[in-house]
Structure formats: structure tokens, C-alpha cells
Symmetry: C2
Subunit: 320 residues, 2 copies
């Protein structure tokens, strides 16, 4: 499908570039890599995301030009919809974006991007950024340091620093190429992993005090209540990554983080090691996700919610 | 120097393989990669380390065959001394090991390995493992899955999961090659990063309660006392990595962890971001290390020790 995509790029002059709501490193890095490439070709390009860019990605070259309202822009010949399995994932402007003449979908999710006929979808790629790299190479576009920094960030964040099973041989080959083109892996890693708000670390200390284990240590959990957030002056986003600390413990196969969204309403993050399938567990409770990372919402007292979640875990994992 | 090393390997039959005391992932992975390669060539090879293999590296293929006493072994034609800038770093058997006829030194430290005339030293390599990979390729030795797993572990651990500045273009190229030869990056990362003792995580929660900041948040510190260890049933090794959590905080340029070795005697770990040089700070207090990671020991009450360390930081970093 590369040829169809390249044909659209060559024949159009004005592009919108967008991705899913709550953009992550792969969404932002992929968008900005294409943005720099198109501008390098002398094309007009605008990056639109419904949601603001998280502070941690403020170092990405071009991120300062991302817009968050489509009120004053129009007349696009084509739109790139990136890292979206469904065009609705772009947010409130989905209908307007869906009405643009040419829609190019680039995605690495299994059920990705089929809302468009012009698509590059490869579930074997680590990230949308890795597919963007392939596209730019096919087009013979020079990878500048700005492009390299953006694609490297996409890959780094979506592979959890080359630790997840989506990391492939090509992922490392692309990383080598990007370093050669000016991506500074230390600078990028410092920006991604060493800019945590101090409030988050203080809250983490408190959350660790709530650690509990079940099933002989194979299930571990922590919780964060609204009261804990208030006491530390923390925001819901500061709980990000807490569940991964529980997963990092020896013997833990399933990690659970209970986050109290509001009184007696909990958001539950589930993580697993190896082949233990937390998607099935989340599914039993009305949620979803991937084999090793899923989420759901459950109402009730913390005690009742814990009981429901543990029940679902035991029902799915009869061998635990 | 590859030819001299290959000549020794080809002409000898019985090899000792060793590395520095308190072996890390690079030392163990490099040793075991050479062990498997030599045995694949039909040679006799023994891996000796003075210290036990840390539990976290128990998954490395061949680690079960490492010996920790040289009482019942002798008659070596040659010895590989790996990841050592000085042969004394192998421990109490340094004299005996130094008396073996042929000594092959492989190292990536700046002042590495010059105790031998048969040496492969490349400070631009990420790790000793990366140089071992180069050697095996030069020799035309097939990289088996066991060899690939060991070298990948060496590289992964010495680059902090491809995040440190020693990560080079070749590092990623080698990682790609090793994956192609059977290194399972997810399995290895799970073994390295997701097997933390629960006691360590509980202690971490307590240590985070001691966080303090100076110089407008550019210096952050935590401490662990003997009393805290006792209360959690933790060991000194469980404090590993705590200083990195402080470094991961936004705005922190220098992270300090004070660990009370015994009453009024502290081991101090220093970490920095970017070009801030903690080696100079440690040097002022009688310690040493690298630009971004150093350590020293200071005696006195915790208050007096903190004062000395902050004094050294202010003396070295006048711009802080």
C-alpha cells in the first residue's frame, strides 16, 4: 500500500495530521515526524490533537505548533489519521475529519485503520512510528534530526524502552538508523523518564504503603483514594505507572491498581507477566485492553470492589 | 588486536574465564557468552567468580556452572579477564590468576585492561558484551540462543535499557543481531526488571518519605538508616536503585542517597543528569566513579554528613 500513500502525498498540497485523544509518545512522535517531512517537501501541514500535549512531550521538535481547535483551519486535501483503530478515536472532530477527501491511516494495532482505503497497517511493527520510518525511507525523504527525535520517541515509549514483546529485530535496526540521523538516545530518555513531578513520587510512597498480596504472592495490588490525592495535592494522572511497580515484584503475575475516581467508583488497572491474560479479567468486569495491560471500572466500597476483581481473577486464571 | 586474541584461543585448550568482584550483568553475560563459545569449539572452559551470582541473573544460560572457589581447578593455558580495569578487581585470587601463562583482557572502560598485552579495549563500546560479540563474529563462531541471551543481557544492563549515553549506533545493531539469533528481549527484560523482592519495594516506600530538596529543587536526597532496614527486614542490597528514583524527578540535577552502613558511617550514592559532574563531588569526599554516577563514604551524624555533601556539591557546582 506504500504506493497509494505516496501517490496521495505527492498529489496533494495541504495536509491535516491527527491521532487519538490523550496522545501518547507514539501518536505525537508519528504526527510530528510526518509534519517535518511534509514541510521539508514544501507542503502545507497542520497537526491537530483534541487534547493538550502532556508536559513530558514538550521537548519534541515541532510540538509547539500543534493546534487543539479546528475552528480556524480548513481546506485540507488530505488527512493523516495515526495510531487509531477507529476514526472516532480522534475525538469530537471525527465527523469533520472523516469528511476530508483523502484519508491516510497508519497504525500498528491488530484491528487498525480500516476506516480508510488508503492505509498502512502492520501489527508486527512496534509502533506507528516504525511504520512512518518505513514510509519516509520508501519516499527517499532525508531523515533530519527533528524527524529522528520524533520517531525514536514513538518507538521508545511504545516499547517501554525496548522491553515489551512488540520490540522486534527491525525495531532495533530502525533505532540504529535514527541514532545515526541525530536522535540523542540519552537526551530523549532523560526527557521521557526523568521528568516525573515530585508530587507523583510522594504519592507513590503513600500508595506503596497499601500493598497487599493474594494467591501466594502471585497477585499484588495497591490503591489510591481521593483522600490520598487531596493530602498530597496530586492529580489523577500522577497515579500513572504505579501498577507497573507492583508488576516489577518477584513472583507477582498479576498486578492491580485501584484508583478511586469518586466516592465508591473505582478505575482498575491490570498488568500481567508472560502469557497471563488480564484482558479476559477486565472483559469479565466490562473493560478491555491487551493481554498484559487492561483496565475496567467497578462501583462499590473498596472492599466490595476488591472482592469482585479477585473473583474475576480467580474465575479466569484457574491455575493461579 | 583481534588477531592476537584469536591466535591464543585457537592455540590453547583449557581456559579460565573471570571478571570483577560483585559481578553485574555485563560481567556475567560476557563470561557466559565466551564460555558457551569455547565449549562449542570443543575447548575446556571454567567460569570463576569470587562472589555468588545475584539471584536476578540466575536465568542466564550456563550460570549454574559458575564456580566460586579455585581450590580444585588448575592447569589453565589461558584466562579471560573481563570488564576489569585492573586485575586486582577479580578479588582474592588475583595473584594466582595473574600467573596464568596467557591473559586476555576484554574491557570497555577508559583505563581498561592494560595489565595484559593481549587485550581488546574499546571505551566507545557500550559494554564488554558488545566487544565479545565483535570477537565472536570475527572468529566466525555461530551465535547460539544461549550466547545471544548472555550478550543481550550484558548490553541491556550496562546501558540501563538503552537509556545511558554509552548506547551507540552499534549497540542497537548488535541488539538486532542478537534478537535474530534467539535473544528474547521480553523474557530477558522481565527477568532483569520484574523480579524485585517485595521487601525492596516496601523499603522504597519508606525511603521516599525521607525525600528532601535543596537549591530550588535541583538537588534531591533520600536516606536509609539501619533502623529502617531492621524494621522492614531488608538487606543493604535492597537500597539499590533508590537514588535513581530521586534522579527521575523533574528539575532534579543531582540525586543523593545516604545509606547508613553502621552507626554514624554513611555510604553516599550520587547521580546526575546531563553534564553535571558528580565524579568531582565524590572526589572531594574521597570517593570516585563516573560523570553521572559516583559514590563516597562519609562519617558523622546524618546532619553533619548531609552538610558535608551539600558543601561539596556547592563547591563543585557553583552555577547551581
Amino acid at each position: 500500500m506504500f504506493n497509494e500513500v505516496i501517490e496521495v502525498i505527492n498529489s496533494c498540497a495541504t495536509f491535516l495530521i491527527t491521532a487519538h485523544v490523550r496522545p501518547d509518545g507514539d501518536a505525537l512522535g508519528s504526527e510530528l515526524a510526518i509534519y517535518h517531512a511534509l514541510r521539508g517537501m514544501g507542503k502545507n501541514a497542520v497537526v491537530y490533537n483534541q487534547d493538550q500535549t502532556p508536559d513530558v512531550y514538550g521537548f519534541l521538535p515541532g510540538s509547539e505548533n500543534i493546534i487543539h481547535s479546528m475552528d480556524s483551519v480548513n481546506g485540507f486535501d488530505a488527512v493523516f489519521v495515526l495510531d487509531c483503530s477507529d476514526i472516532k478515536r480522534v475525538g469530537n472532530e471525527a465527523d469533520r475529519i472523516g469528511s476530508i477527501d483523502k484519508i491516510i491511516s497508519i497504525d500498528h494495532h491488530v484491528s487498525g485503520g480500516t476506516f480508510s482505503e488508503i492505509l498502512l497497517v502492520d501489527p508486527s511493527a512496534s509502533s506507528t512510528g516504525e511504520i512512518v520510518h518505513r514510509l519516509l525511507n520508501r519516499m527517499g525523504i532525508a531523515i533530519t534530526a527533528d524527524i529522528a527525535t520524533n520517531i525514536y520517541t514513538a518507538i521508545l515509549t511504545d516499547t517501554g524502552s525496548f522491553r515489551y514483546s512488540n520490540t522486534g529485530i527491525d525495531t532495533f535496526r530502525v533505532a540504529a538508523d535514527l541514532m545515526g540521523k541525530g536522535a540523542d538516545c540519552r537526551y530523549i530518555a532523560e526527557n521521557i523518564y526523568e521528568t516525573r513531578p515530585v508530587i507523583q513520587i510522594r504519592l507513590m510512597g503513600k500508595a506503596l504503603d497499601t500493598m497487599e498480596f493474594y494467591e501466594g504472592g502471585r497477585v499484588g495490588s495497591i490503591y489510591v483514594t481521593q483522600e490520598m490525592l487531596r493530602r498530597e495535592g496530586a492529580l489523577p494522572e500522577h497515579t500513572e505507572g504505579f501498577v507497573d511497580i507492583v508488576r516489577s515484584i518477584q513472583g507477582v503475575e498479576i498486578a492491580v491498581c485501584y484508583y478511586e475516581v469518586s466516592r465508591n467508583r473505582f478505575k482498575i488497572s491490570l498488568r500481567s507477566k508472560g502469557t497471563v491474560d488480564v484482558e479476559k479479567i477486565a472483559g469479565k468486569l466490562g473493560g478491555g485492553g491487551h493481554v498484559n495491560a487492561s483496565a475496567c471500572r467497578v462501583e462499590g466500597s473498596i472492599k466490595a470492589v476488591k472482592g469482585k476483581v479477585l473473583g474475576a481473577i480467580r474465575a479466569v486464571c484457574s491455575t493461579l
